[in-house]
Amino acid sequence: AQRVTQPEKLLSVFKGAPVELKCNYSYSGSPELFWYVQYSRQRLQLLLRHISRESIKGFTADLNKGETSFHLKKPFAQEEDSAMYYCALKTAGGYQKVTFGTGTKLQVIP
């Protein structure tokens, strides 16, 4: 079965410092990986997905199949980045299912 691991429950960084939110996965097939974000009092929403190879709000994430990782990075943290971040994996094939990690709370200190 697939699994998504986010080792840090809480990550505190100072404004302007680099951010890296870790995500590792285990899955025997070819996965799709996503990052979702939940700002205070808002619904969970998609931040970015690996197949788009996009940068959203300065965040990027590269799928590393060798290390089975999909870490989320931003070079300079902003206060508005403070939120809960979830890594997610979607399985391939007919019965696709999305599995979420337990989430990392990012706290950007002014």
């Binding site: 979702y36 619904r43 969970l44 979830y86 979420f100 337990t102």
Partner: protein, 114 residues
Amino acid sequence: GAGVSQSPSNKVTEKGKDVELRCDPISGHTALYWYRQSLGQGLEFLIYFQGNSAPDKSGLPSDRFSAERTGGSVSTLTIQRTQQEDSAVYLCASSQQGAGNTIYFGEGSWLTVV
């Protein structure tokens, strides 16, 4: 509708009572998920519906929890004989089948058991 709709948005119930939470997914979405989010905690998977396949109930915490999805659209999560530890936000999400399709979440139903 424009997004995933959940009702009620807030529910306070007495311990031991049954509650029903409703989810209206985005039209055409074949996949539907229920999650639970306790205060300060992450997402806890409850159940997954995908088209006409048998649902994945592996996340339901006890036999007091059940869910159904009628006509491949609306879903109802039922919690029987509620306990205080059931207090949480219950999130529903839906998606289309296929690569690249993302999950869209509802705003959740806040359940408080007193």
